[in-house]
Symmetry: C7
Subunit: 244 residues, 7 copies
């Protein structure tokens, strides 16, 4: 049965003024694996829990560099996420070519929002099925943005999307007030811990299944070394044993 007779395309309003197809597209994000973003006064960090489609495959990387000063990770439909990623890279490049300077991350997020809005207002298209966390750095410092299939975007101190994001968000809410003054290493640890509290027992956490990337003051967008990630994971294990 249809949940509602107004929910099969994105150009039909429900009597309550809702666009159900846009809301359903938001559900696709929850089916992707976890993405975490957080920032201090100096750095913005993205951390993801990667999945492997099979024992025979490597873990799928979900963090992408958009430009020297901007990175992105996404949950949801992978093909849509990649398309968004390609769009942002092109926009950033065009901007740099035209103005000779880095594109402001907020401006880029705004451009993506405009593109996503179009997909919510045409009968022959569908809203995107991916949500993104975007980490960027500009003259006002680091930023974490979330973008959504409904073409809305938000700026956060820290945030998590994807499956089981609630545990990660609870961790972040407890600790985000200490982030601004946190050191690079502390921030990395917070990011990995937010991923760890969300991961269930059946997922092995290691330097390949957990990706961490950083951008910030004097720090071009870069991935944290697998070994460092593993060291942090190990130290977290020891801490938690201690806690127990």
């Amino acid at each position: 049965m249809l949940k509602s007779p107004y929910d099969t395309d994105c150009i039909t309003w429900s009597p309550q003024g809702r666009l159900y197809q846009v809301e359903y597209a938001m559900e696709a994000i929850k089916q992707g694996s976890l993405c975490v973003g957080l920032k201090s006064n100096q750095f913005a960090i993205l951390a993801t829990l990667n999945r492997a489609p099979s024992k025979l495959a490597e873990y799928q990387q979900k963090v992408y560099m958009i430009d020297d000063h901007i990175g992105l990770c996404f949950s949801g439909l992978t093909a849509d996420g990649r398309l968004i990623c390609k769009f942002l890279r092109t926009e950033a490049l065009n901007y740099k070519y035209t103005y000779g300077t880095n594109c402001n991350p907020g401006r880029l997020v705004n451009r993506l929002s405009e593109k996503a809005q179009i997909k919510t207002q045409r009968s022959s298209k569908r809203p995107y099925g991916a949500g993104c966390l975007i980490a960027g750095f500009d003259e006002h410092g680091p930023h974490i943005y979330e973008t959504n299939p409904d073409a809305n975007f938000y700026e956060y101190y820290a945030f998590a999307i994807g499956s089981r994001n609630q545990s990660a968000k609870t961790y972040l809410e407890k600790n985000f007030e200490t982030f601004p003054e946190a050191s690079r290493d502390e921030l990395v640890k917070h990011a990995i811990k937010a991923v760890k509290v969300s991961a269930q027992g059946d997922v092995e956490l290691n330097g390949k299944s957990v990706s961490v990337a950083i951008v910030g003051q004097g720090q071009q967008f870069a991935f944290i070394d697998e070994n460092e990630v593993e060291r942090v994971l190990e130290s977290l294990n020891q801490e938690m044993e201690v806690e127990v």
Copy 2:
């Protein structure tokens, strides 16, 4: 069940001569948070109650500058509101470039209405899901306009849209006859009070959750300082305690 067999697209008339899809789009406005607009003989003021999607995010700004002499706030679908905002900025800029003078706010509202009408008469589009309050100043003084998904617009002495606008409108109806002669500070106070009477207990009112912007004679479009907003909120609290 369908509410009516004539309500799934905006190009089908009901037997009573109504376009239900357009009416449903109007409902989307009520789901947005409160916007208030009011004016004296000298100033027009917009005030909004901002929401934060999470403890981890900042309050979302909903008031936008269109031009030096025009501002806008909206309730409803954020992505549609932003699109409208961008459209008006471009129109205002084009006008200034073409004619070398500020675009009359009424003219701009009329252009938006023409654009919105098209969305109500094509099978492959949908009506916008956002209502706007537009504050502007021209040679006839300040103006407050409301624009709607049905492509209609109205000029008001004072008005409120968005969720729980009824309380705000009741306040405005009781007091609007005193607005024309009100001073800048009195007008700001009225705006904030109209927001306050609509806000329920679970929303914290402060300099970030309540935005106020002003435009008028010798006053380019500008936001009222957060501190000033907080001072007014505090004085209103004291007054209301006294009243109790």
Copy 3:
């Protein structure tokens, strides 16, 4: 339930040879407020009952100048009415620019009819939801035309459209034989009285809620002054008291 299985788009004939969607669009006119048009040998007059969407708004003007010698008022979907109005202004202007002379009002009405017809014969459009009364003056004297969503138009001695137009039409039918020889002031009085007999008790009639405009011999299109309207309304009140 559908009233008829043939009534959801304007390109489907019913077995009786009717286009229901076009007929439904005609119903939209009845939802608009009253418009009255009438003419003498010298003048054509439009009178409307204006609505205010709220106590906080001014009455909405529904009479528009198309050209020096042509005016229009409409009932129904405001956005459609405005679009029609803009179309006619552009047509009149183009004509004047091309031929160096005023466009004949009948010709203009014919152009509108052609445009409206297209909306009744395309699957992706809908018929207009507004009916118009058009007052114009040419070498044959003054004219009152009615145009409709079905793309038909009629010339009248006097007519009324919009909600409760029946009372107004009854008044006009009783008196229209005296109109040709009526003076300007008598004609204005007839127009206002036709509005008055249709208005129910809950509408306040005054110089803002009743608009009257005139065009004719040696008289460019112009609005009757609010004060004059109020004087006429008062004298009508006195007359009716006397009658009682």
Copy 4:
């Protein structure tokens, strides 16, 4: 209920090989008022019964000149009839401009048929809702053509379409063998009588409600004077009294 599951668009054949939407469009003609056409060896005549939408309006003229030697009247959807009329005028004009001679009426009818056919074979259009009687004169003498929404056309000695055309056709069938040798005045009388026998008691027949136009040898297309029509109507009344 649908009369047939194959009757909602004009590109779907019924299992019996019928296009119901085209047949339904034919029904629209019966809803228009009566049109009569007839011819002698020298003249072709069109006569129509005009309706007034209200006591306040003049009777609507339904006979149009297409060119000096061609006239048209129609029953059905007025907007469609006017569109057809405009199309034929343009075609006739273009022909005259291109070839420097009058366009043959049969050729013109053929062009209209081609245009109407297109409307019966596209999913996004609808068949025309008007039938026409076309009177023309060429080197073979006068002609009366009927054109239909199904894009077919016929040549007649005499014919009637529109509401209650059966009585008129019965009259014509009884008398058409005398038409070829009839004088102009006799022919006019036959035309008016054919209208009269179809008109029911509630319609007043006079020089305005009955239009008669003529074209033929040495006779450019022209309307018969209202007074003459009234004289004929009066003489018919007297004859019929005599008959009673």
Copy 5:
């Protein structure tokens, strides 16, 4: 009820691999009146039974000249038949203009087939509703082709389409082996007799209701004189009386 859920458009295959809409269009041919085509070694002949829409109209001609050496008659939707006829005339003319020689009738039939095929493979069109018999002459002698809404065509020794074609075909099957050596007059007589055996009592057969056209060796396409047709009809009557 739908006869089949796969029969409402021409781009949907039934599970048995049939296109029902194309088959339904074939039914339209049976609703047209009778067409007969036959040929000897020297001549090809078309004969049709014409209908008059009313006593007031002339019989409708259904045989058309395409070129000096090609003629066509059709049963089914008249507007579609005329369109096909116009198409073939244009094709024949273009061919003659391009190559300076007569277009081969088989080639022309092929072109029509290509055009008709398109109508069976597009969602927004419908198959033609007319079948044609085409008589032509080329260096191989005379030809009779049948073309159909399914875009197929066949060459025949003799054939009949339209309502009650079965009686005509039975007559032709009994006699076609004598046609190759038949003289012009015998062939005409066969054609008229094939029409006559199909006609029911309520149709008057005469020089106007039966059309006969011929093309062949040293014989440009031409209509057989009405008087000749009537003489043949009379002689046939006499023969049949004798038979009785």
Copy 6:
């Protein structure tokens, strides 16, 4: 009843990953009459069982020359088959014009496959309703290809399509291992026998109802003479009598 709710257009996948409309189009081939193709090391042969739509028509030829070295026969929708045939001829001609050499038959089959694929992936088209056997000769010797509405193609040693192809295929499977070394005459005999075993008693086999064409080494595409076909048929009859 629908066989499946996923079977009315060719762009909807069934839950099992099937495109039913494409499969239904394959059924159309079975409704056509029999086509047989087979090859030796030197020759490729096509043989078809022709149908006559009536006693009054000649048998319909179903074998077409595409180029000097390529021939085609098809079963299914005749109009679609002819369209495919025309497409291949044009492709072959263009190739020869561009490269100055014969187009490889495999390449041509590939081009047809590409064209057919498009018809299986657009909402407004339908898959072709014809299957083809294509016989060609190139530097690798003779080839027999089958092409299908699902845009797939196969190369065969010998194959049969169309109604009752099973008997023909059984015959071919029993004998195909002897084909490579068969002489021209033996190959022709095998082809005709494969047709004969499939034909039921009610079809008369003769030089007109059975067409055979050959292409190969030193043999341009050519039809086998009717007389030869009849001689083979006769010898087959005698053999079978002997067998009995």
Copy 7:
């Protein structure tokens, strides 16, 4: 019955945020026959189990060369697979022409993903019905990619798609850790064994029904000789007998 009311086109989200049509298209892959890909540090190998549509046809080749350093095999809709194959060849050629160097296989896979994404977001198209395994070699060594109708792609150490891929994948999972150091011959043996364990008794395995292709260091893309494949099959048979 529909499995879900949201599963008939690829632009409708289910309430759970899934695109069922895309998931159904994935099912088409399982209907194709088995494809296996695996790699050592030096070579990448593709192996397929080929089907013959009939005893009369050769086995259908399913492995294609894209470029000297890239090969592809696919399961699912053959026509879609061929289209993908042609697309990749053209892309690789264009790249080489533009940049004068071989196109990186990962880049090519990415281009295919972008193209496939479009098919999942348009109302008038359908997702591809074929999955591919792509083997390529670049400066980082050999690669095995899988691409899917959902526009996603993965890199694998070894993988299998198509019907009964589970047995093959189980074999690969048990042995893939030894692949990196395997010699060319060992790798070929693994590939053929993975095919063999999946094949059921009714399929004959030989040098025609099993295709193996290799690309790698100093090894342009090439097919393994049929004889070699047969030798390996034989040795595998002997080993398995021994095991029993």
